[in-house]
């Protein structure tokens, strides 16, 4: 019982942390507000300016951050279980490169300037490129070999990022849009941007929850999983679909936010053991906390200017990755 007590207490503590960061995210910024003022504004009271800042700007931004965080946490858990590699990142399948390519094409050739349109372009690009990576990486004898998928992701990612750079360098508008988008930011996201992609996020999350028990079987190796009655191929396909939907949604909403999807499931595994269902739930709560916290830090770090959330997460995530690599046993090549 101690393990499940520990798990329950851990999730409760993480929920408290999320609630705290949520309040911070509503209160902190260029126009700092006290929690009381925030509450008033949420209830529809207070002065007009506070109301606009909280309800008009910070609530949508915070909700978007939570959505992107949840998506990245789940996607990271799935991809690490899928590849049996604790260092796999959901972006490894080419999602970010595909999304960036689509946004660059939209700006350069279609004259798109609007964040709401970026979302759809990015989502479409992410979907198409992940599909291509999957087709290249898993053709042949069926089972999607994780190493080959990774290679295919790196290779296709390189091709698309090359073309994206080329487009950006020959078109100042595209360059300007891309350098902002590439950083990964929650700035200026409103409900008009968020609501249309919520169904995809929910679909991805539902698939993830349904497939989670199967992930435990998969961890024992394909043969044992099959002996236990798991449908290995079905699980694999479901995971790819869910990762694409979730990671595509997150990237579409906020641009490429680095390291959250890699780091959070890893930390969850260290804290609560190897049960994929537990890792999934913990990551779902921990990831949005990290994203919101990074966003809040980005707002105060160089105030009155803002540092995009994706840059802050890289600064937190890269040292964690390096520390993990140093701690890995020397025997594990």
């Amino acid at each position: 019982m101690t393990a499940s007590t520990r798990y329950a207490a851990g999730v409760a503590a993480l929920l408290c942390a999320l609630a705290l960061v949520l309040v911070l995210s509503l209160a902190v910024g260029a126009n700092p507000l006290s929690p009381g003022v925030v509450l008033d504004a949420l209830r529809g009271g207070g002065d007009a300016q506070a109301h606009y800042v909280v309800v008009g700007l910070r609530v949508p931004r915070t909700v978007t951050g939570i959505a992107a965080g949840v998506a990245l946490g789940i996607a990271g858990t799935l991809i690490q279980a899928f590849t049996r590699n604790p260092l796999a990142d959901p972006g490894i399948l080419g999602v970010n490169a595909g999304a960036a390519f689509a946004v660059a094409v939209g700006v350069a050739f279609l004259g798109v300037r609007d964040i709401a349109a970026f979302v759809w372009l990015a989502f479409l690009g992410a979907l198409v490129v992940t599909l291509a990576v999957y087709v290249i990486g898993s053709s042949g004898r069926g089972a999607a070999d994780p190493i080959r998928l990774t290679l295919a992701g790196v290779a296709l990612g390189a091709v698309f990022s090359g073309i994206t750079t080329g487009l950006a360098l020959s078109n100042p508008d595209a360059f300007d849009a891309m350098r902002g988008w590439n950083a990964g930011s929650l700035l200026g996201r409103d409900f008009g941007v968020l609501l249309p992609v919520v169904p995809f996020l929910v679909a991805g999350a539902v698939i993830a929850v349904l497939v989670a028990p199967g992930l435990n079987a998969l961890a024992l190796g394909d043969d044992v999983a099959r002996a236990q009655g798991a449908n290995v191929r079905g699980i694999r396909v479901a995971v790819i679909v869910a990762v694409t939907l979730l990671c595509g949604t997150a990237t579409a909403l906020a641009g490429p936010i680095s390291f959250v999807g890699l780091m959070v499931p890893h930390v969850a595994r260290r804290l609560f053991g190897v049960d994929q269902r537990v890792i999934l739930v913990v990551s779902m709560v921990l990831a949005p906390t990290v994203v919101l916290l990074a966003d809040v830090i980005g707002r105060v770090l160089i105030a009155p200017a803002e540092m995009p959330v994706g840059i802050v997460t890289a600064f937190v995530g890269a040292p964690v990755l390096i520390a993990l690599a140093r701690r890995a046993r020397a025997g594990a090549r």
Partner: protein, 348 residues
């Protein structure tokens, strides 16, 4: 005379008492690559707004032909073509060294943070107000070397493991790349675009002096590799066997990586961080010649050909002139995809 069957057709060159066994397929591939480089060079010297036939180019190279032809070929276009050949070779050799030492076909200076580090150094120089080309170059080389040193130190723990080196390299690279994103966001649009074009790696504006300097720095390093290569081949047998046969694996690896970093820095100083040549050229060479190891000589020829082709595409084939680095990334990526597909076919 005793003949030993070594499993492949070979020629043995004898100079005095020294013998040099050469595989026939490697010789043929090397000769073909050399021929391709010569043809590409002549073509690229002839292409441009003032276009010349191959005959005119050859005459100009021989010091004959019209004065204008000679000026265009020898003074305007030759430095650029020579830079592509020399630095393509330099990058490929550096890549082959990285991949041999880490025993990983995905290792390259790009993956190990050198390219991002050089870009960070250059951007910092721009932010600090450096206006001259030479200061930007100093920033870039310093940035690359500092990044490499940081990765080396962070990955060092009871010796260097190839895998840990790559993981730490990815982490540091990602960190530097987000620093770069941030620095670019802070700049005026025009400055940022100029910096990005440089950061992609470009042969634009390479002068004769720069090529001469690069040759003076890199040729001694390449010559020194002749001593190092037999030791590296020993390492291919595994550390234990290598140590038993008299090599010092750790020292050999360190020397090889230092030479590789120096070579990349030279290339970065002249043309910026050109991506993917170092990664792809050794792998292409290996598949062309079917050698069991990464041949430095063939890698060099492949790298030279690859950079020349990419530059011709970047300058003359695409509708807008782009930095050569943008083309090498795409060409290299397409090649990697083809390699994976072929591998899958073989297994299926």
């Amino acid at each position: 005379m005793m003949r030993v069957d070594v499993g492949y057709p070979r020629h043995v060159v004898r100079i005095g008492s020294a013998t040099l066994p050469l595989r026939r397929r490697s010789l043929v591939v090397g000769a073909l690559l050399l021929a391709a480089i010569v043809v590409l060079a002549v073509v690229s010297l002839g292409l441009g707004t003032y276009s010349l036939t191959p005959g005119q180019v050859v005459r100009a190279l021989a010091g004959q032909g019209g004065a204008l032809d000679r000026t265009v070929v020898l003074e305007w276009r030759l430095p650029r073509t020579l830079a592509a050949v020399l630095l393509g070779a330099v990058l490929a050799v550096a890549g082959a060294l990285f991949q041999t030492v880490t025993r990983n076909p995905l290792a390259s200076p790009d993956v190990l943070g050198l390219a991002n580090g050089a870009f960070t150094g250059m951007l910092l120089a721009v932010v600090a107000g450096a206006a001259s080309w030479s200061l930007l170059t100093v920033g870039a080389v310093a940035g690359g070397v500092v990044a490499a040193a940081a990765i080396w130190l962070l990955a060092h723990r009871n010796g260097i493991s190839g895998f840990r080196l790559i993981i730490v390299g990815i982490g540091v690279s990602a960190l530097l790349s987000s620093v770069n994103t941030w620095l670019l966001l802070q700049m005026e649009l025009e400055t940022a675009m100029f910096a990005s074009a440089w950061g992609a790696g470009s042969l634009n504006g390479v002068g004769a002096a720069a090529v001469r300097g690069a040759a003076l720095c890199s040729l001694p390093l390449l010559a020194a590799l002749a001593v190092l290569v037999p030791r590296l081949r020993q390492l291919d047998l595994g550390d234990d066997v290598a140590a038993a046969s008299g090599a010092r694996p750790e020292a050999v690896r360190r020397t090889a990586l230092i030479v590789a970093v120096a070579l990349v820095s030279i290339a970065t100083a002249v043309i910026g961080p050109v991506a993917f040549v170092a990664l792809a050229a050794p792998q292409i060479a290996r598949r062309l010649a079917r050698t069991p190891y990464l041949s430095l000589g063939l890698s060099a020829l492949t790298g030279a050909a690859l950079l020349l082709v990419s530059d011709v595409i970047a300058q003359h084939v695409l509708p807008v002139a782009l930095p050569v680095g943008v083309v090498t990334v795409s060409v290299g990526g397409v090649y990697l995809v083809m390699m994976i597909v072929r591998e899958i076919r073989r297994r299926a």
